[in-house]
Amino acid sequence: MLTPTHAEIIAIAPELILTITAGLVLVIEAFLPGLRRYLSGLTMLAIAGAIWARLSLELPGAVWAGMLQVDQLTAFVDTYILIAAFFAVWMAGPFMRRTAAECGEFYALILFATVGSMVMACSVNLLTIFLGLELLSIPLYVLNAFFRRHEASVEAGLKYFVVGAFASGFVAYGMALLYGASASTNLVEIGRQVVELGSLSPLTAVGFAMVFGGLAFKLALVPCHAWAPDVYQGSPTPVTAFLSVVPKGAALIVLLRMVEGMDLLQVSPRWVLAASVIAVASQTLGNVVAIVQRDIKRMLAYSGIAHMGYALVAVIVAGTDGGAAVLVYLAAYTVMNMGAFACVAQLSEREDRPHLINDLSGQGYNRPVAALALTISLFALSGIPPFIGFTAKFVVFRAAINEGFVWLAVIGVINSLISVFYYVRVIYVLYMRPLPDRQPDYGFNLPICAAASAAALGTLLLGIYPSAILAAAQSAILCLAR
């Protein structure tokens, strides 16, 4: 048996920290349940430690027999995955306490899912990608159904499980075909063969299409989006926040690695066409259907479908511009969405009831901090400057125009315009409607409010000074260069 080298241990130090903490959390839960209320703090500490480890330890490149590629790209992706997990746990602590559902398994599952997505993000091998995907998905099925006495939550868990299992099957079958076509499980090798051939062989094409189909489920792209609204609505809000960002981020990076490795922009016009159609359909369907939603979580689900449509545009463009745009978009989407969901968690009365937008009437003056944070997050999601959401869209459309996809950019901006309708409507309800006679009892929760404010502040500051994150994304994407 091979003993791992020092560099290989260093390379997976953040994953190790999280896994060990997860084990520790389970042990504490089993033997010292009195310490339960410190578990969220411990988990946050571990995630912060993992971020520190990823950013300060060296990045050795290819490790574990070339299965994992730990470089600046990994560091960038891991950082926003970990930040998303941090925010999810930040709001989960008080949230689970309030709903009397707190227990250690919750945090352990979040940590395992986080590790899974990190493995997915740094894998350049089909096997580890699949392992990561499963490690991410299986804890999420449980997390979705965590309120096991709420019908909606159980329904969400079951729905995500059935759809997720189906998607995993797709991915696994597609991977088998890719392996059959290239006799390798290494993405770099598969990509090299495709580029050499100059076109997609039928077997590779079918294999890639199936993997893409499976990832499209995770990304909630049209036509694989139907699960999203129900799952978003039914899951506990911190889980929804996690679910809306982390799996999508990881799946999109895998997709970007494959597209970039095979140079599909040049090799396969068919892919470009198909992906463009899917991107446009996702944007349009997501934005149009979001307009008629009455539940804010469902609305954010459809908005998420649309946002992945924008991100897919950047994946199509690929290259250094498009790749950097994908990274910036995902980072921006993480911050905005975390802010929005933290506000939803704060401004919700009972978890098993719908989170109606109309219930927010007049809360702008009653709960000024949470309402302002929600306003900022929604303006950012709709792509209005000076928030990071605008910068992200700017970067994506810029990449599209530079590669000659002006029409994709035009459709993208038209869709942003449509999206303004429903985001701004929430703000109208917050500030321009009188308080209803029966005011919902939202209580006040300092940690959740703090999480929302931190995310909103990040949205604003990153929007005003996007240069640092852009520089990081650009140097990260150079690691993908062929």
Binding site: Y365, I384, F390, F394, F397, V420, Y428
Partner: protein, 498 residues
């Protein structure tokens, strides 16, 4: 130090808005006083800008150079003034203290948020006029949407939500295409020079090279159309004007004054600064269309204004007509007509701003804006009537007051280009006299029909202070327009030479 004055004027409103954030909202007076002081300081600084401005230099002044902002894309923070933007910055900073003072008696909720919105709006408006980087310009352009949405939507009249959303969506609809156009220009600049830049000065070199021949879908024409749509909605030019009456009427007085006084000028300024200067060939192509739309706007706005039963709506439609003159002057594109158009932008900001303020004062006294609910006010409020009459005469272009100078320059300058358009536009002047004077007649002359109106108090000292600066300028421009025409002459000449 004086080089940084422009950035100080631009960013200090935001700084003051942040200062207001921690102050408790019960302390309404504190918010009002701080905002008033802030606005007076900014007005003082912009007067300082005016005095240090060199009228003989046609280029951009008070320039502190390009400060890298997003160096990866060549995006910079770059602000400077030329003669055209100087006047508009002065107009903006003049109107801010006026509206703050006008809102003093505003007995409404959420005073704090109103003042924060006003300050943020000011940064957006000034930024639009002074940005020399198109990315920066776009950000300021869009930022104005958010505070204005709140001003109309929170403090507006009964149909405020409809008006606010309509304003937001209309403006946004135009500007998203402008974003694509800006990105395209940057890409084109990179194609031509190999350098990434969003600088206006760089685009001046490359944007005119965009091909404009080869059918309606030539890149130059499409880019022109994208910019034009954004600005035409803002101005608003005839078929795109439908958001304006709603927004103006529903907005509170503060909002109406800034909307009419400054926000509409962002559109005409953009037409001149970007469409005219960056795409001169396409401008040539579209100028006849612009002229036709301008004349339609002049006549249509005047005719619709004539039949309005609501004073505020009448003033709102008169804006469509007045802005038609500005667009006509720009479309004709001669030195005189362009200078007239720029002066008319300022004039319209002054007279329409003053009219909205006066109508707001009437509304505060009577809680109605219907012309039929007034009548005979001249006997009850003599001083108010006098002021209203002066402003009205300024608006319809009586020689000796400001409107005359602007309209005369526009018509005289356009005559050489298109006499027929001038004839029709002249008809618009007559119509404007008809609807304004008829309104004055019904509101102020005749017997007092409604007994409650006998008790109306005349204008008070604070209100005099509100309109006094505008009155002074209305007369000043009418008597000695050169004070304002001189600083822009060189800049306009340079711009038209391209």
């Amino acid at each position: 130090m004086s080089d940084y004055l422009l950035s100080i004027v631009l960013l200090s409103p935001t700084a003051f808005a942040i200062l207001l954030l921690p102050i408790p909202r019960r302390w309404k007076k504190v918010h009002r006083v701080i905002t008033l002081i802030a606005s007076l300081i900014m007005f003082a600084i912009s007067c300082r800008l005016w005095t240090s401005f060199d009228a003989n230099d046609p280029g951009f002044q008070l320039d502190i150079g390009r400060i890298p902002w997003i160096p990866q894309f060549g995006i910079t923070y770059h602000v400077a003034l030329d003669g055209i933007s100087l006047l508009l910055v002065l107009l903006t900073t003049l109107l801010l203290p006026v509206v703050v003072l006008a809102a003093w008696s505003f007995n409404i909720e959420h005073i704090k948020s109103l003042h924060i919105s006003l300050l943020l709006l000011t940064t957006g408006m000034i930024g639009t006029f002074v940005s020399l980087d198109l990315f920066l310009f776009y950000i300021f352009w869009e930022i104005t949407l958010i505070p204005m949405y709140f001003i109309v939507g929170v403090w507006g009249g009964p149909r405020r939500i409809y008006a606010a959303v309509k304003f937001f969506i209309f403006t946004m609809a135009g500007s998203v295409f402008m974003l694509v156009a800006i990105l395209y220009l940057a890409w084109f600049h990179h194609q031509q020079t190999g350098i990434w830049s969003y600088s206006y000065l760089d685009f001046l070199q490359t944007a005119p090279l965009l091909p404009t021949t080869g059918g309606l879908f030539a890149p130059g024409l499409l880019i022109f159309a994208a910019f034009f749509l954004a600005f035409a909605i803002k101005v608003p030019i005839f078929p795109l004007h439908t958001w304006l009456p709603d927004a103006h009427v529903e907005a509170p007085t503060t909002g109406s004054v800034l909307l009419a006084g400054v926000l509409l000028k962002m559109g005409t300024y953009g037409l001149l600064r970007f469409n005219r200067a960056l795409l001169p060939d396409a401008w040539e192509f579209f100028a006849p269309l612009l002229m036709v739309l301008a004349v339609i706007g002049i006549i249509y706005g005047a005719l619709v204004a004539m039949v309005q039963p609501d004073v505020k709506k009448l003033v709102a439609y008169s804006s469509v007509s007045h802005l038609g003159f500005v667009v006509l002057g720009l479309a004709a594109g001669t030195q005189a007509s362009t200078q007239g158009a720029i002066l008319q932008m300022v004039n319209h900001g002054l007279t329409t701003g003053a009219l909205f303020l006066l109508v707001g004062m009437l509304y505060e006294r009577t809680y109605t804006r219907l012309i039929e609910r007034y009548g005979g006010l001249a006997g009850v409020m003599p001083i108010f009537t006098g002021i209203f009459l002066v402003v009205t005469l300024g608006s319809i272009g009586l020689p000796g007051l400001n409107g005359f100078v602007g309209e005369f320059l526009i018509l005289a300058g356009s005559w050489a280009v298109h006499p027929v358009a001038v004839v029709f536009a002249g008809l618009g002047i007559i119509l404007s006299a008809v609807y304004m004077l008829w309104m004055v007649q019904r509101v102020f002359w005749g017997p007092v029909d409604i007994t409650a109106n006998y008790a109306l108090p005349d204008i008070n000292l604070r209100e005099v202070f509100v309109v006094a600066p505008l009155m002074v300028l209305i007369v000043w421009i009418g008597i000695h327009p050169n004070t304002f025409l001189e600083p822009m002459e060189a800049s306009v000449r340079l711009l038209l030479a391209r």
